[in-house]
Symmetry: D2
Subunit: 278 residues, 4 copies
């Protein structure tokens, strides 16, 4: 008997869904702590995230709900607990550091299993927090070999999400598909502006007055995955690209941490190349 | 037979509310176009705004819902249509002007009945839009007499909301109570900072780095009514108070127009001195 | 004898520029009301905008400054006065309306000479403000012919800037070059994201969480001109592209009006495809 | 012979200041890397921050400048180097953590001398970064005694600034005056809203739609010192005060770090209870 669950449902919209689902909750004597719904008119899809509390049997609840939603529906009954994550990094410490500080304060809804870096730069920082760091160098080997080496380490951990906290290498489609919908990245531009390498240099050269950051699920199309969160900061002509890079770090880390909190709290539905965020 | 309704319910929270209400919609064959709920844990109150579509009889729908919600519940079944508003102004044109431009483009969900000014300054602007303007001077008479004179004109119109679009006088508690929950004001600060007269001068003297605006329902406590919307803009040491005032106009007008759109679309519940905005 | 001037200088940077220029102001007994400088390290260019007050002869001041700055320098000695603008529009009223309201309040630092529309939609709104409106239809004729017809009208006015207040047609390179650095446009995205047609639809399809607007000088490269101002607003999955378009109007009009104020106050230097904004 | 200096001057405004000062730079063969000025019209004060580079003798430069500025002028010739700071904390780690991460990445323009906490909560975090932590308990003793104990430790360090990184106790006027203009605090509201204890609870009870944070110099008037930086984030009815507190941490830490960077780079002039920030 559990006392809180997050119910996530997505399915084709039809009349009576809310009624039939809320009837289950009522019949089982559960409280609805919060409830959010959305119908995407274009695709005719229904999304619902409900937090219920009370005495319930997880399997029975799931079975009961499955009876009243369409056969093709996707249902998750999730008992809230800290998820497990593995972090991939390169050299910059701001995004990783923000996560480590939250983690050490008990404010991150995740257990960090390990940090993997293609450079050794962040080893010392990670070790300060008594978290395993693995150096998997990418030099002098091809991408497939490097990912193979990472995979050996990744697979030695059980985890829910891989978080790219300024991991500055492109992943192969094979790697991405292995962890479909499980990889979260922070890109240092307000996508779709400045896809690809050195977006701050691109931003500087274009003379923009705002720069931004985008947290998204990684798909095999570079920088094209479903966006979870974005934010921006103003810049002006006094910023050269290094200044933009420096200023951008603050928005990068806050956007990644916000996106991570949303994902870890099961607030994000992936819908094609978009997200529904409750 | 209507085909769209906004159902607004607020009542004490209890188990099964969503189920019982959504059952009515299902039984009457209605679609739920959108649905938002909120339970205020502190007060134990439940708020729900649902837009339904289909063939229904307004009175029957209301009767049916009343049967399944608590006796003390507050229910509104609203068939969407343009609401009627009367505007009160003084001399500044930006907030009024923003509303007039939206109105003339058909983008305001309201019919403007009239504009009442305690100065003649805005008469010409209002007349450009073929809207009645009434000059009710406040000079050399007391507040009660002035409001009495305004009341004569106000009462000659039927309206849903009085909108204070930079009306720079304080209303008496009597006046406010006459139009309880029907008066919307834009205050030129991010309340509760800088209550009262000349907030920009206060802001300048305090040396703040952000200024703001607050749209709120007017209650008999000056600048203490439920807040509907707020926004801010950055300022710096180069701004004297007149510069702040000038810059602030843009945020004032956008905040008022946003709040007005929310109110006109029945998206705002008043809950004590707070609002629930769906 | 004038009593206030804006001095704008851009030239190659060299030692002693500030000293030599400020010496002229001192020798002529002028006050420096405000002064802003910037050296672009990459190009080695120096930009300076100084507002001076006092008794001076405009021509003599110009002559004296020219003696102390490099031969290739670009100098403007501007006596502040309202500039003249001609507006180009299509059907949407928000950007034009915002300008008209500022204009009617005496808050726009410009005299509006005329509004030219390729549709008649905004004729009535413009006429409410006693400003000439010219309908130059673009249908059934080629782009060159349409621009030729517009040019006839444009050339009947003297003006400093052409302002595209949601003019929804692409101008030919010939037209743009005729008015080089004199055309200001508002683009309905945070450039360089969503160049080209229907950026809101593009934004919706990409699933972004922020949308924006960009005011820029028009050059012959579509949406590639120097950016003057940008701003954004958050959106979410509940916004379809029409909702984004509606919400975006508020940021479009405020960004255009802000950019216009900067340009009209001679605060913007064009530097390649970038701007220096003081 | 040094090669870079920040020249900070504030004095009564008078004609020819820029000319006379820039003449010194020119005569000494120095480059002006950047230069910002401001004249506060109300007080008639002139503020200037210039970064010069070249070969110069610090004392001679100072002497020369002093000759051409008013006798009452305040001049600082600062050779850029990392300043020294001591941090005061209580229990929350986010503001401290943000500073520690920047520090460990070499991105903080300061050497952290020590962290002093009135609780032991943050001892472990601080020790992870090999920085001295001093626990100075405040319980069961009066404020003066507690500050006396802190002072013993503080005075054992040489430092430029005391940084209150969520130090949740009020300092006595005596303490504040001892370190006049040397104490920087982060207050968890957009001052002057919600002065004093538990601003998030106050914000929640007022029903605001934005919350913020303010970094300011500490003076003997509680929360009334000169503001350096402020920022805000939107909230809504779904936030209880603990949610606001949690969300507010992100804006607190970013505002404090931004203010600190400004102060450490000598970009902030104190002017009465305001700041000039270049």
């Amino acid at each position: 008997m559990k006392n809180k669950a997050r119910i996530l449902i997505d399915c084709g919209d039809e009349k009576g869904l809310v009624y039939r689902i809320s009837k289950i909750f009522f019949d089982q004597g559960l409280n609805i702590d919060s409830n959010q719904e959305f119908v995407d008119k274009e695709s005719g899809k229904f999304f619902m995230r409900t937090v219920v509390s009370g005495n319930f049997d997880e399997a029975a609840l799931e079975t009961d709900i499955l009876k009243v939603i369409p056969a093709q529906a996707h249902l998750q009954v999730i008992i809230p607990k800290k998820k497990k994550i593995v972090l991939l990094v390169t050299k910059e410490s701001h995004a990783l550091g923000d996560i480590l500080i939250r983690y050490s304060a008990g404010e991150l809804d995740a257990e960090i299993q390990a940090v993997i870096g293609n450079h050794k730069t962040l080893e010392k920082l990670v070790s300060r927090f008594d978290i395993p760091f693995h150096h998997v160098p990418a030099e002098h080997i091809n991408r497939e070999k490097h990912e193979h080496n990472m995979m050996q380490i990744i697979n030695s951990y059980s985890f829910d999400y891989l978080v790219l906290a300024k991991y500055m290498r492109i992943l192969t489609p094979d790697f991405v598909e292995t962890f479909s919908h499980k990889i979260i990245n922070i890109h240092h531009s307000f996508l779709p502006a400045f896809i690809g390498a050195n977006p701050y240099k691109q931003a500087f050269e274009r003379g923009v007055k705002i720069i931004g950051a985008t947290a998204h699920y990684v798909t095999s199309d570079l920088d094209e995955g479903p966006i979870i969160a974005q934010n921006i900061i103003p810049v002006n002509h006094r910023f050269n690209w290094q200044d933009m890079q420096k200023a951008g770090r603050d928005v990068e880390k806050s956007v990644l941490s916000r996106a991570l909190a949303l994902v870890l709290n099961d607030r994000v539905f992936i819908h094609g190349n978009k997200t529904i965020v409750f």
